[in-house]
C-alpha cells in the first residue's frame, strides 16, 4: 500500500499562562509541534504499512522549519518526508492548501490512501481532508475511528458521528480523516529520532508539482480573514449565591435559564 499522510506544524498550546488583567490565556513564545490529530494519522499509516506492507510518505506545506514535523513522522516509522515550501504558497486558505497537497499526491503517483488528522488546532477548520478528496475526485471518509479492513481496491472504516457511528466500505484510492479514538500514537524513540536526523528531505515548489499559480497562495484563496480579535475579557464581578441548598439551586437554575443554558 502506498500511503500519504498529510501533516501540519502548529503552535503548541501547553505552555499557557493567564493574563491577570483580561484573565485570558497568553499565547506568547509558542513552540511548534506536529498538530496532535496528525500524530494519529501518522500512527495509523505506519500501522497499516506494518500490516499490509508498502510505504508511508509524510507531506506538509509550510515554512522551512516545518521539516521538523516530517522528521518526527520519520522517527515513528514514515519512510519518507516531503516539504512543500515556497513564498507562493503563503497565505493559502483551505481551498488552496488542499489543492497544493492534492497536486503533490498526484506527483507522488500511485497513491492508494491519504490519511489526515481530523483538524488542525490552529485553524480548527477540518476542511483540508475533504478538500483534498474533492481536488483528486476520490472517495472520502471523515472522523474515522477505526479501519476495519483493507482489500485490493476497497477499505472499510468506522466513522464517528455525534449520535453514534456507521461502518462503510469505500473504493480506493481514498482520503481518510481520523479522530483520536483510532489508535494510541507511539512516542518517538531516541534511536528513531537520531536516524530521522540524517534524512535528506526534498523541498518541492509550485513548478515541481505543476501547480497553477492562480490556485495557490492568496490568489488561490477565496476566503480572506478581515479581522481577528480576542474574545471579550472575563467580566470582573462575580454573582455570589448563598442560602439554603434549595434557594441556591433555584437561583442558579434561574440564571442558567436566562442564558438558555438549561
Amino acid at each position: 500500500m502506498k500511503i500519504v499522510v498529510c501533516i501540519k506544524q502548529v503552535p503548541a498550546t501547553n505552555d499557557a499562562k493567564i493574563d491577570p488583567e483580561t484573565k485570558r490565556i497568553i499565547r506568547e513564545g509558542q513552540k511548534a509541534i506536529m498538530n496532535p490529530f496528525d500524530t494519529y494519522a501518522v500512527e495509523e499509516g505506519v500501522r497499516l504499512k506494518e500490516k499490509f506492507g508498502g510505504e508511508v510518505i509524510a507531506i506538509t506545506m509550510g515554512p522551512p522549519k516545518a521539516e521538523a514535523v516530517l522528521r518526527e513522522a520519520i522517527s515513528v516509522g514514515a519512510d519518507r518526508g516531503i516539504l512543500l515550501s515556497d513564498g507562493a504558497f503563503a497565505g493559502s486558505d483551505t481551498w488552496a492548501t488542499s489543492y497544493v497537497l492534492a497536486k503533490a499526491i498526484e506527483k507522488i503517483g500511485d497513491v492508494d490512501l491519504v490519511i489526515c488528522g481530523k483538524q488542525a488546532i490552529d485553524g480548527d477548520t477540518a476542511q483540508v481532508g475533504p478538500g483534498i478528496a474533492a481536488h483528486l475526485d476520490w472517495m472520502q471518509a471523515t472522523y474515522v475511528m477505526a479501519v476495519e479492513s483493507v482489500e485490493t481496491s476497497s477499505i472499510t472504516v468506522k466513522r464517528m458521528h455525534e449520535d453514534g457511528y456507521d461502518v462503510c466500505e469505500l473504493q480506493l484510492p481514498a482520503v481518510l480523516t481520523v479522530v483520536k479514538d483510532i489508535n494510541t500514537p507511539r512516542v518517538p524513540t531516541l534511536k528513531g529520532r537520531l536516524a530521522a536526523q540524517k534524512y535528506e528531505i526534498p523541498v518541492w515548489k509550485p513548478e515541481d508539482i505543476g501547480a497553477d499559480h492562480d490556485k495557490i497562495g492568496l490568489k488561490g484563496s477565496p476566503t480572506r480573514v478581515v479581522k481577528t480579535q480576542a474574545p471579550d475579557p472575563r467580566k470582573a464581578s462575580t454573582i455570589r449565591i448563598e442560602g439554603s441548598p434549595q434557594e441556591c439551586a433555584k437561583a442558579l437554575v434561574r440564571e442558567l435559564r436566562l442564558r438558555s443554558l438549561v
Partner: protein
C-alpha cells in the same frame, strides 16, 4: 537509600532533552556532561520521566543510546503512569539489564501526547484510574525484589489525604520517600519523619532563584521574597533535617555545582 544519607550523597535531578528540542545534538551532549559529572562526584543521578507532561526522551533510552555507565548506587529513574504497558515493561527490563535498581514511582503529569496505563493493563481491579499505588503493586508483583522503590510526598496538599496515600504507598512496596521542594522547615514533613522513623526520607531543595516557578510546581502561591538564596536554603535544610537526604532540582551545573561539595553540614 540510608547509605546515601549517611554518606552525604546528593540526589541530583537531570532532565532528558525534550522531544521537540531544536538542538538535539547539543542537548544530548549537555546531558552526557551532567551525568558524567554526577558520576564522578559520587552523587546519584535522578532522571525524570516526561516532567510536567513535556514529551521527553526516557532515562533508559539515554543511558542505552549514549552508552552511559551505570553504577547501581548512583542512578535513579523516575517512572510514572503515563506509558503503554509495552513501554513500561521495556523500561523495567532495560533497567534490570543495566543494573538500575532505584526507581521513583509517581503518578506523573500527563499531556496530549502521553498514553496512560489502564487498570486492566496492570491487573489493577476496582479502581477507576492508575496511580502510583497501582504501579508500585505491579512492579512488586511482576518484578519482585528487582528494585528499590521510592514515592513522593507533597506537604502542600491536605495532610490527611497525603498521609492516607502514604500508608497505601508503603503497603504497596515503597521503601523511601522524596518530598516536594522545601524552602523552610515544614511542619507536615516533621510529622512525616515522626510517623515513619525507619523510612529514609529525602527532602527536595529548590536550587533555582525563580520562586514563582516553584509556586507553579507545587500549586500554591509562595510569597516572593526579595532575594531567595538557594545555597543558603540548602545549608539550612541540612541543619534542620540532619537525618534526611537531599534531592537537588534545577541545580545549575555552571554556577552552583562546585559549591555543593561544601554544603552538606549537619550541625
Amino acid at each position: 537509600m540510608q547509605h546515601h544519607i549517611q554518606n552525604k550523597i546528593y540526589h541530583v535531578e537531570i532532565l532528558p532533552p525534550k522531544q521537540d528540542s531544536e538542538k538535539l545534538e547539543a542537548d544530548l551532549e549537555l546531558f552526557v556532561n551532567k551525568y558524567t559529572r554526577v558520576m564522578e562526584s559520587g552523587y546519584c543521578a535522578c532522571i525524570t520521566d516526561n516532567a510536567m507532561g513535556h514529551l521527553s526522551f526516557q532515562g533508559t533510552e539515554m543511558i542505552e543510546e549514549l552508552e552511559l555507565p551505570v553504577y547501581p548506587e548512583q542512578v535513579m529513574i523516575h517512572l510514572n503512569t503515563f506509558h503503554t504497558k509495552e513501554n513500561l515493561d521495556e523500561i523495567l527490563n532495560t533497567c534490570i539489564a543495566k543494573g538500575i535498581k532505584y526507581l521513583l514511582v509517581v503518578s506523573g503529569d500527563g499531556s496530549e501526547r502521553l498514553p496512560k496505563l489502564k487498570p486492566s493493563d496492570i491487573g489493577a481491579e476496582g479502581v477507576e484510574s492508575v496511580t502510583s499505588v497501582e504501579l508500585l503493586k505491579y512492579i512488586n508483583r511482576e518484578y519482585k525484589d528487582k528494585f528499590v522503590l521510592g514515592v513522593a510526598f507533597n506537604p502542600y496538599e491536605p495532610e490527611d489525604h497525603e498521609f492516607e496515600k502514604m500508608e497505601r504507598k508503603l503497603a504497596a512496596g515503597a521503601s523511601f520517600i522524596i518530598t516536594q521542594p522545601l524552602i523552610e522547615k515544614n511542619a507536615v514533613v516533621d510529622k512525616l519523619l515522626e510517623k515513619y522513623p525507619d523510612v529514609p526520607v529525602i527532602v527536595e531543595a529548590w536550587m533555582s532563584k525563580k520562586l514563582h516557578l516553584l509556586s507553579e510546581a507545587v500549586g500554591y502561591p509562595i510569597p516572593e521574597n526579595t532575594e531567595y538564596d538557594p545555597i543558603a536554603t540548602l545549608k539550612m535544610l541540612h541543619k534542620v533535617y540532619p537525618k534526611c537526604g537531599v534531592y537537588l532540582s534545577l541545580l545549575s551545573f555552571k554556577t552552583q555545582y562546585d559549591l555543593i561539595k561544601d554544603t552538606w553540614v549537619n550541625e
